[in-house]
């Protein structure tokens, strides 16, 4: 009982911490100043979202959510690679 209560408190705290981290990353995404900063912030936000989904799986007791986390991780990696290619092509053109 006691262990479960501690776990519930920890769960709430972890959700808040990840939420604050998402907020901080979003501030960097909005402020820039360069395009690379925004891509870095977006990449971090995707990773934080994976952590958040893992926490949802933990809180709901539904392990199926982990599949969504894995898929998001794959897509986020591809997105970052695509952004990096785009940035590098832009650097070549200039």
């Amino acid at each position: 009982m006691n262990g479960a209560r501690v776990l519930a408190v920890v769960e709430a705290v972890v959700f808040v911490m990840i939420g604050v981290a998402l907020l901080l990353a979003f501030v960097r995404l909005a402020r820039g100043p360069s395009l690379s900063d925004r891509v870095v912030a977006l990449d971090l936000m995707a990773v934080l979202a994976v952590g958040l989904i893992a926490m949802v799986a933990f809180a709901a007791g539904q392990a199926v959510f982990l599949d969504a986390a894995i898929v998001l991780a794959l897509v986020a990696f591809l997105g970052t690679v695509a952004f990096a290619r785009y940035l590098e092509r832009r650097a070549h053109d200039e």
């Binding site: 990773v47 933990f58 894995i70 690679v81």
Partner: protein
């Protein structure tokens, strides 16, 4: 007992994720922001996934959680490298407190040619970077001269 392990792992993971967020907001230039975001977030998500695996105590869940964290360990350096490379070519300014930029004096951004690939044949003014290259001994230097790696 397993509850305690889960709680500790969750707190450690969330702390690292929060640290990544603070780092991305507070670090002075893209490259330092990138190192904060990449390393701290990889460790944070890894810890949280391991905590979930311990909590569920099920083979399928454990395999999936470990697969996800191994995937992060493999891809985070790759994406950080690509982003850093693209940012450097794009000319994103470095922090004014940067001590040394070893690449700038020896990398031609126009032709993408790395000078140190023929450093052994062309004598250049001695800098800290040159001393570092010499420190590796003659053998790697010889290899580098014949290696077309520096030419893209």
């Amino acid at each position: 007992m397993s509850d305690l392990v889960v709680a500790v792992l969750l707190v450690i993971g969330a702390s690292f994720l929060l640290l990544a967020g603070v780092g991305v907001l507070r670090m002075p230039d893209v490259f330092s922001r990138m190192q904060a975001a990449t390393k701290a977030s990889t460790l944070g998500v890894g810890c949280i996934l391991v905590a979930v695996a311990v909590h569920f105590n099920d083979l399928g869940v454990t395999v999936r959680a470990l697969a996800a964290s191994v995937f992060f360990l493999l891809t985070a350096p790759v994406s950080a490298h690509l982003l850093g490379r693209a940012s450097y070519f794009l000319g994103v300014p470095l922090w004014e407190g940067t001590v040394i930029d070893e690449l700038r004096s020896r990398y031609d951004l126009r032709t993408h040619r790395l000078e140190s690939s023929f450093a052994a044949t062309v004598p250049s003014p001695v800098t800290g970077a040159d001393a570092l290259v010499d420190g590796h001994g003659a053998a790697p230097d010889d290899q580098r001269r014949h290696d077309p790696e520096g030419v893209e």
